[in-house]
Amino acid sequence: MKIKKNYSKVKTIASGIIPFGFLVIMILYLIGPSSDLLEFGVSLPEITIEKIEFIDSEIHVTVRNTGPIPVKIAMADVNDRIQSAAIEPDKSLERFETALVRIPFSWNEAEPYTIGITLDDGVRFDKFIEAATPAIKSDYKLAGFFAIIGTYVGIIPVMIGLLWLPFIKRIGKNKYNFFLALTIGLLVFLGIDAMLEGFEVSKENFSTNFNGELLIITITLLSFLGLYYSAEKLTSRTSLTASSKPLAIGLMIAIGIGLHNLGEGLAIGAAIGLGQVALSTFLIVGFALHNTTEGIAIASPLAKTKSPISKIIILGLIAGSPAILGTWIGGFFYSPYTAIVFLSIGAGAIFQVALVILKWLYQSEQKLVQASIVSGIGVGMLIMYLTSILV
């Protein structure tokens, strides 16, 4: 009896593995004996210029082989004029390998430059930089500067937003539902915003080979599903009292917004780090106004419960302080890959929170098509749009 059971188990495993075996055999056959059969068309080499930094009288260019075949780098140019240069570690790049091209060049601050890299087949790839800005030096002073910006953009606005809590507490049920719906609107907008931002980063820095758009959608969905699943497990396992459930939702919103602010911090840090824009006070004011609305988003679900001030402040910190971390990562270690990963995780988290609030509203109201809810979502998105113009 037992043997029979074991035998059937083996059968199950074998039937699961056999198709894989055939797949492996097919791939080996295609790469090996029949590789000549499938050689048609021309494989074109391709590289992507991922980063350009302006160091003391040198321009540093990070290139990646993003094509289907190995490439050799032959030449560098600045504004389409040939320059001697060094390439480290060496000029041969395997698929996905990167190298650093150092071009000695006395560049002028704030002037635009086009950097070109020519391959051994004579094809040239280039990237335009609007204004040369000296690469920032990583030191404590700059880290402190970033922390201050992160505080202005992340923590303070969220805290100010939380100050609306007493106001939301006082209002009636319909108006309260309006504010919850408003939160949904704000979050949906933020989620879409993060994804669009990711698409832009991908378009500017990624080769089409990397399928940046699909990467963003995949990570967003994974983040959404992962957080949704773990949140459901959490809320169902612990016996949540009526008063602690809103706090749990508030926490989820805070985490989602925190991830979003991490992405925003990345954008700001990278903008300063890469010298793409002069970060003006105006931009910071814009981000700050924009992020005040995030405080409202956290405050709304907490409104009908008695939550201790300390917990609310902690929620505010969870939502706001990642902005500081973001500026550090963006400023000191910027890479389009990290930017896209964080933006996508943030987007997924935000959509998850929006869905949780929507479910919560549905549970208490049994009906979503209400003037207060529909208008709340609409107004939320409108507010976000209008404040986003300032950024």
């Binding site: 004029r81 650093l100 094809v123 995780i345």
Partner: protein, 340 residues
């Protein structure tokens, strides 16, 4: 999951710094900076060129043909073979499919005296039709336009009397013409006057370029094909010796090209058809296939630049140096007797 994604992305970010070698190499930039690197040097400006074509040899290489005589007329016979499958290193590390006459870009310099019979046995070993079209005076059927010579060994014999006196280009005239010319099917054809020009150190300079990424803009420019060649292999000349350069502009895509000489001026004979120079200058601008003869002498020894004063071209390779050595045979003359 989150930490896994962050971990992976960190690996991607830091992979840039993961492979470093330890033997430093040194190179000097054109502004004199000395740069040390642990990697490779990408330096088409100052590294010794390793390219196959030798502009140093081409510069003073004149082909007078196999000479015979019939009824008092000198017959000069040449064999020219066209090919279009060569991959040549046209700048250090950059490879390009050149189309060639006798294996090089530019093709051989064909030289005859006015009135000679020039007979060219043309063989097309390429994969496309090609011809040879000479600028000059000849019968219509020798013009190399309507008689395309087929690929894979097609033959044609061009025969005409050399004339007029001067410096002329020859090139393939098969459509699409721009493609055939920009790939390298051109060369220089010199017709000497019956009464020889004064003895001189003579050289040929074809001003050309290569559009290696096929965007109808040249990526490289040069005198005689190889960018920066005469800058790191200066042309050796002597003081007070007459220098005569046969210059032909074969640059495609750009409407003009020019030649500026440092520390000196030259007598310029447009197309070389007149023995009287049209101007005495240090800067001549040439359009497509525009050409002429430049004559000058240097009074002072030293290094003198010559380059396109369309500086874009010189920064993409069309720049060179004359290294003027002291000439012990001739004492420095005060008057400029070649000025006319």
């Amino acid at each position: 999951m989150l930490s896994a994604i962050i971990g992976i992305s960190t690996i991607i970010v830091f992979s840039v710094f993961s492979e470093a070698q330890l033997e430093p190499k040194v190179f000097v930039t054109h502004s004199g900076q000395v740069i040390q690197t642990s990697g490779d040097v990408l330096d088409p400006l100052y590294t010794a060129s390793t390219v196959e074509f030798d502009p140093g040899k081409y510069l003073r290489d004149f082909n007078y043909g196999r000479i015979s005589e019939l009824n008092g007329q000198t017959i000069r016979e040449f064999t020219i073979i066209a090919e279009d499958d060569k991959i040549q290193e046209i700048s250090p590390g950059v490879f390009y499919n050149v189309w060639t006459f006798n294996g090089t870009v530019p093709g051989p310099t064909i030289r005859a005296t006015e009135g000679d019979l020039v007979r060219i046995h043309f063989i097309n070993n390429g994969s496309k039709s090609h011809t040879m079209h000479f600028h000059g005076i000849h019968p219509a059927e020798m013009d190399g336009v309507f008689e395309a010579v087929g690929p894979g060994g097609g033959q044609f014999t061009y025969e005409f009397e050399a004339g007029p006196v001067g410096v002329h280009p020859y090139h393939c005239h098969v459509m699409p013409l721009e493609e055939h010319i920009s790939h390298g099917l051109y060369g220089v054809y010199i017709v000497d006057p019956k009464e020889e020009r004064p003895p001189a150190d003579e050289m040929v300079m074809v001003l050309n370029g290569f559009d290696t990424d096929f965007d109808t803009e040249n990526n490289f420019y040069a005198a005689n094909s190889i960018p920066f060649y005469y800058q790191h292999h200066p042309i050796q000349i002597k003081t007070n010796e007459l220098i005569r350069i046969y210059v032909v502009n074969m640059v495609e895509f750009d409407p003009i090209n020019n030649l500026h000489l440092h520390g000196n001026l030259y007598n310029y004979y447009p197309t070389g058809t007149s023995t009287v120079p049209s101007t005495y200058t240090d800067m001549i601008t040439l359009s497509q296939t525009e050409r002429g003869i430049m004559e000058f002498k240097y009074d002072y020894p030293g290094k003198y630049l010559f380059h396109a004063h369309k500086v874009e071209f010189s920064e993409k390779g069309w720049v060179g140096i004359f290294l003027v050595n002291d000439n012990p045979d001739q004492k420095s003359q005060t008057g400029i007797d070649y000025e006319n």
